[in-house]
Symmetry: C2
Subunit: 158 residues, 2 copies
DNA sequence: TCTAACTCGGATACTTTCTGTCCGCGAATG
DNA sequence: CATTCGCGGACAGAAAGTATCCGAGTTAGA
């Protein structure tokens, strides 16, 4: 899985604490990561419709939907793409003992198993929303930690 | 996911139909894939202990365990490695608002969600054995298709 | 209205992983 | 004991992932 997924999720959780646009540069220095590369991930989130980009002097990124309506799966698919990890190349129809096409109407057993595992993985990620993650931060590190992030993003401190 | 996983699983299912060693070259021409590259995958299976390599003139690969005791997860982990796809880099402990280490005893919420999804994925793959896949081939394409593979592997036909 | 500063967005190099290939070592057979 | 065959790890090429830069567009303020 792409490493930028972690950055993107952290940014989305951070965006939960504010309603004003936050520039990519500021999110980068909050997490101490490469601003240029983080910008690319945020562009992917924008293309997927999870965040809305606001240009101009006071521009930045804002969540398009309430945190309860954005799941971790949404973010992962926005960054890594919606395609499943496993792709069946129909090996059964190749080689000297290739099976006839009329015998291969549905996907092969291996592809079915992989698809089922992929569905279970996606279902697990789809159960958790950004609101759940934000709540977890509050209960684990105290309410002050979360509101502090929102205040810092809105301010101009270093 | 590595594309060679598909080849490896097909080979393991094919090995279910025989008890004598099968050379990598023969498995390659059965599936019409690169012999050199398939050899690499089989070496990984050998290191993982799923197959046993027999050298010499009548050498090849054999399954070390009965097909019921080898799951799809075993093969996937042998090829792609046992490490989970997501790795937490502890972003929460970086940047100007870094959380203190004493507040970060357990894994963060994001890592937990990812680990849970990964566990669900592995659990789904662990439920299916090579025997199940072989049975599926028999019921889908008829018993003759499967025994035909075993006969072809044992023979020297092209 | 005009200027100016700040933002995103896509096009551009570099690194790591994955894919594919090769030849040498060891073992079993006759 | 020589020969033949197959495995094993070491060697290039391709693809994806990682990191970066500068230009287009927009908004805020003078």
């Amino acid at each position: 899985m792409s490493g930028g997924v972690e950055w993107a999720i952290h940014c989305c959780v951070a965006l939960t604490s504010v309603r004003a646009p936050v520039p990519a540069t500021r999110l980068a220095q909050l997490h101490d990561v490469s601003p240029s590369y983080l910008a690319k991930q945020l562009q992917a989130l924008s293309r997927a419709g999870l965040v809305r980009s606001v240009q101009g002097k006071a521009g930045g990124y804002v969540l398009t939907r309430p945190p309860e309506d954005i799941t971790v799966l949404d973010v992962v698919e926005a960054i890594d793409g919606p395609d499943p990890a496993f792709v069946c190349t129909e090996i059964r129809q190749r080689g000297p003992l290739a099976l006839p096409p009329e015998s291969c109407t549905g996907p092969c057993g291996i592809a079915r198993v992989m698809a089922e595992a992929d569905a279970a993985w996606r279902a697990s990620l789809g159960k958790v929303s950004l609101a759940d993650l934000a709540r977890d931060v509050r209960t684990t590190h105290g309410p002050g930690a979360f509101t502090g992030i929102g205040a810092w993003l809105a301010s101009s401190d270093t």
